[in-house]
Symmetry: C2
Subunit: 129 residues, 2 copies
DNA sequence: TGCACATCTGCGCAGAAATCAAGATGTCAC
DNA sequence: GTGACATCTTGATTTCTGCGCAGATGTGCA
């Protein structure tokens, strides 16, 4: 059988074409892939990791307290919250002139826990980063 | 680690200073935070998500097959693999003139699964209204 | 209505990272 | 050793994104 493998001509020599086709067929579709990347990308910033971790601990915080907790200006915090909100990572609740933020998704908690385990167990390279 | 509530004048008005201090004390230290962000950052790219997902399915693949699987040039794939390797996300094994890549960490598999659930269920954490 | 407060946004700048093209390195076969 | 092959690296260019500042928006109170 002739494998489709569209490939714009980058690599014509394959070691195991069948396997490539098989794996390729089992990959999540492009849309899911991009969304996954976006979720990770949003969390791929120390400032936002701190924000999310703070919300993880506090449950709910207003912007000014959140800014103080993570040690950033309020404008800065607000900007990051916007990014997090665009990705549905956090949700906001308005109460008067204050806005309270909390995590919007249960998966985020698991993601953070896993990442924390990953970096704390860290294969023994022990060094001051 | 960071100083306890620097308050360099950014936000002098706190709604709940005690809570801020409490949450702040329970946050992971700065080093862990930065590593977590780096892990997420590495995965925050569609191309790398595809690569990792492919390795997740295949177990082990050489660069050329991997490039074909994810639909990129080999040089491009190699570049991303370098980034992934720098973060200990993938490992490589040399066999002749070929180099075989596979995942280096068990947590990555869980991270990817969670992210996939997240984007497929579309933040469906169920329960809480 | 006017002011004070909490939060959000727009703009310019600087640093980081992705992309592309081309060549360098290392390995096998003869 | 020479050539073919698989992979890796380098450099220049472009794009993205976080930061800092100033101002805008929206809300509550007198």
């Amino acid at each position: 059988m002739s494998e489709p493998i569209p490939l714009d001509g980058c690599s014509v020599r394959l070691v195991d074409p069948e396997r490539v086709a098989s794996v390729r067929a089992r990959l999540p579709d492009g849309d899911a892939t991009e969304r996954m990347a976006r979720v990770f990308h949003v969390l791929g910033e120390p400032a936002r990791v701190r924000i999310v971790t703070a919300l993880l601990e506090a449950g709910e915080l207003c912007v000014c307290d959140l800014a103080a907790t993570v040690g950033m200006t309020e404008a800065q915090t607000s900007q990051h919250l916007r990014v997090l909100r665009a990705e549905r990572t956090v949700r906001n609740r308005r109460d008067g002139r204050m806005v309270w933020y909390s995590l919007d998704d249960a998966h985020v908690r698991l993601l953070m826990d896993l990442a924390l385990q990953h970096v704390t167990h860290e294969h023994g390279d022990g060094g001051s980063a």
